[in-house]
Symmetry: C2
Subunit: 492 residues, 2 copies
């Protein structure tokens, strides 16, 4: 397989698909719309999980596990949620296969083994969880209930893309219960903020925090907070959402508590999630035509050492130096790999590590041995420098920090230069087609206008930014009065 990628300018979408496969991150499977996450891709996801899990626990949440299946009668209990997911859910109807009498060696579903009640493979777990919470919550003493689950979910999407939109995906879903509306709202905002901090500080991706319009809200939510990122092709990507669910699920599943005065009231709820879609955001934000570019915080290997040698004697001497570097960097909690495979030449190794986005590559050859130096290559800007062994550990630390900061800054500069304020619909269409990015424009606040703009341009309202300032204006489409701008974009 050729390692050369289609360039981003040539075909951004093809570049992405090729990169995901060639960098060994994921591939399509035999199951329609479902992916295989390969070890290298999964190692990055594990790093994301570890960091997020730590942040959830620091904010008082505990993990638990709820069933994969949702009985149909529970699935349909919260009407809006059911309506939102009914069209894309996988349904288990039978619990047994049998030998197919017409086709020797083949199996078929056993018609006798039909379930009394169909089971929906969870597209999200509010229904099964709130049905469980009814048994867990009696009094204000049981609140708040702060639970997270790491799980797989299934949404039967028709058009799928690796990481960005797959029929099955991995995610975490937080589900919390509170005594008051204010506390639930605070929780929803807090977790959106946890997501924003993680995505900015670990993934090096700037995000806009905002709330969704009514038509873009999660099915069953009263308010959806979100973080929106911008990809290099000018399209937005929703990186995480946090929902204030009001008392909708508590009412649908009859979850009440006795407050301090002994009065019964329905519980207030939130749910929030991020998924393997974040992998798509990570890949699309930083990578280039040479392949993946990873922020050091999430790179499975932050440094790779490649020996360049002709004799066993050279290799032995290089190995000794490499081992000492490895010891020193591991003491600094850095992940480092010595690529001493004998099956590949240095050039092939360089190409592979470049394709896979290893932040720093150290090459050591006989000349370096003689000079007490090594060559360090940065993946992000493809520059090289020669460093004395004595300064190496400090220099590696500096470079890793600089790469993390540079990637964020580059993405931020791109994002900030792609938020365009427009005042009329011609400019709106013009910017959308020729420049892309977020369009900051006034909107009259109606679903109709939002739908019409989407129909005409494919742009949706990504969010109403939390940090919006009030500003008098007129709707970019209808000319009706408006008090604030919202962010439009084409989106993944």
């Amino acid at each position: 397989m050729s390692k050369k990628l289609t360039s981003r300018t040539e075909d951004y979408s093809k570049w992405y698909n090729e990169l995901v496969v060639k960098a060994d991150l994921a591939e399509n499977s035999a199951v329609r719309g479902c992916m295989v996450i390969k070890p290298y891709g999964y190692a990055i996801w594990e790093k994301m999980q570890a960091e997020l899990d730590k942040k959830f626990k620091e904010t008082g949440h505990q993990n638990a596990y709820f069933p994969l299946f949702v009985p149909k009668s529970l699935f349909e209990a919260e009407e809006k949620n059911a309506e939102g997911f009914a069209k894309e859910c996988a349904v288990v109807t039978h619990y047994r296969l049998q030998n197919d009498p017409d086709k020797p060696g083949k199996l078929r579903v056993d018609p006798e083994a039909r379930l009394e009640e169909e089971l929906v493979v969870r597209p999200t777990s509010e229904a099964i969880i709130w049905n469980t919470y009814r048994g867990w919550i009696q009094s204000y003493r049981d609140l708040p209930l702060l639970i997270n689950q790491w799980a797989n979910v299934v949404r039967w999407e028709m058009r799928t893309r690796l990481f960005l939109r797959t029929a099955e995906f991995l995610w975490q879903e937080g589900h919390t219960a509170h005594a008051t509306k204010a506390e639930a709202l605070d929780e929803a905002k807090l977790m959106n903020n946890v997501y924003a901090n993680f995505v900015e500080n670990f993934m090096a991706i700037p995000v806009v925090q905002g709330v969704k319009t009514e038509s873009e809200r999660f099915a069953g939510a009263d308010e959806t907070y979100c973080i929106e990122a911008l990809m290099q092709d000018g399209k937005a990507l929703q990186a995480g959402t946090s929902h204030f669910l009001g008392q909708n699920f508590a009412k649908a599943f009859d979850v009440k508590f006795a407050n301090k005065e002994g009065k019964q009231d329905h519980v207030w709820a939130t749910s929030w999630g991020v998924s393997t879609r974040l992998m798509g955001a990570l890949i699309m934000t930083h990578s280039d035509d040479q392949g993946l570019v990873l922020p050091p915080s999430l790179a499975p290997n932050q440094v790779v050492i490649v020996p360049i040698y002709k004799s066993d004697e050279d290799l032995n001497a290089i190995t000794e130096v490499a081992n000492s570097i490895i010891t020193d960097l591991r003491a600094k909690n850095r992940t480092i790999k010595f690529d001493n495979r004998t099956t590949h030449r240095p050039g092939a190794k360089f190409a592979q590590h470049e394709l896979q986005g290893v932040p720093l590559r150290i090459a050591i050859g006989p000349k370096d041995l003689a000079n007490g130096t090594v060559e360090i290559a940065r993946r992000d800007n493809l520059t090289k420098e020669t460093v004395s062994l004595n300064d190496l550990v400090n220099r590696v630390e500096e470079l890793l920090e600089d790469i993390q900061a540079s990637l964020y800054k580059k993405a931020l500069d791109y994002r900030d230069s792609h938020i365009t304020e427009v005042e009329n619909f011609d400019d709106f269409k013009n910017v959308l087609e020729n420049k892309g990015g977020f369009i900051s424009a006034h909107w009259d606040g109606t679903n109709e206008t939002e739908d019409k703009i989407k129909e005409l341009t494919k742009a949706t309202i990504r969010c109403i930014p939390l940090e919006n300032k009030e500003e008098e204006g007129v709707c970019v489409y209808t000319g009706a009065p408006s008090k604030q701008r919202v962010l439009f974009a084409k989106a993944y």
Copy 2:
């Protein structure tokens, strides 16, 4: 809810079911046979996962993720495996629900949205993984391929019990590919050994390593290695299995590689797994009539501090001492919790921590403050001692180590005193009914005898121990000659 448990002698099975629920480990869900793993139970499972995952990585394995669904045509490809799991699998037949025209507000499966090919919810992933490996393996350079997956699987069991046998359970499944039979056999044995070490050293449960007889083998395996533990009621529990799969899956899915000489050959395979069933083993091995007993290695909180006070002044002084203890023990990497809830009295806290198996409880009251002491209570043997604050950290360390060792020793003594050699079938039945445990007996090596003994006594051959010595004898049932003893038991 009363916290008092049914005693083990009164009704062991009821004791277990009550304990799991009352100690907040898990509960039944609205989905037949599926459980909810509650936060406290999940915290123990997370500790198991972390340790196992570390061991897998240390032995060269990488994690990955494969689809939840197995298309029927792949599921049926390896005949024995398909036959073994066909009778208990959940099958997705539709991908959409719609409003039920006959029942307003209700949903039904959309008859138009029937899948062309049914999808089996994975009961195990050999089929989907080996179908994927075909694309990953071309040459000996691609081998060995050492991959593990943490996942949920579904087996539609008719009689389920929390943790021990549930329709959905969580597990890890390793799937490896090798160039030679010898290497695959070594891998299967190595991973069985990794399991044995984990279960003995972390779970404090002694195990017998052995191989399964043909009729007890995993469907599709040429050899199944296993670890067998003994519960307090004298029944055995299979705690983990590691399979040598020969070339069965490679042949079913046409996975070949070019060896060093350029010749094509089918790949050799293993698979191995442990599941949330280990939680059942953990609970049943150590716990008592007061509730859960946990080995310190797996306790979410190894130590809990309960303040005993009447005035705020006392509480403030106790809190100061508690914080200093917490700082010192966290510096030793111990997990410790200060239970300063004002909603519960000390007696209720003591009862809860006893029920939930916290290894050490430290109580601090005004008298302790005056004397510079605390009271430490061990959960395993329910003894108490007064310890000077100056000696506390060292004493806690000693006690935690002693509890871990004592639990193992106690379980080992029980297990060793419940391996009974018998020479005839009357003794076999007698020991099985009146004493339980493992029965070490000669067996003629045939499936027929194994089946007959199972039919007559419900005892199965748990394993042929790896450390068996050769010994001339006659089959306990047929009197036919035999060269070694095997271990029989009734089992979970």
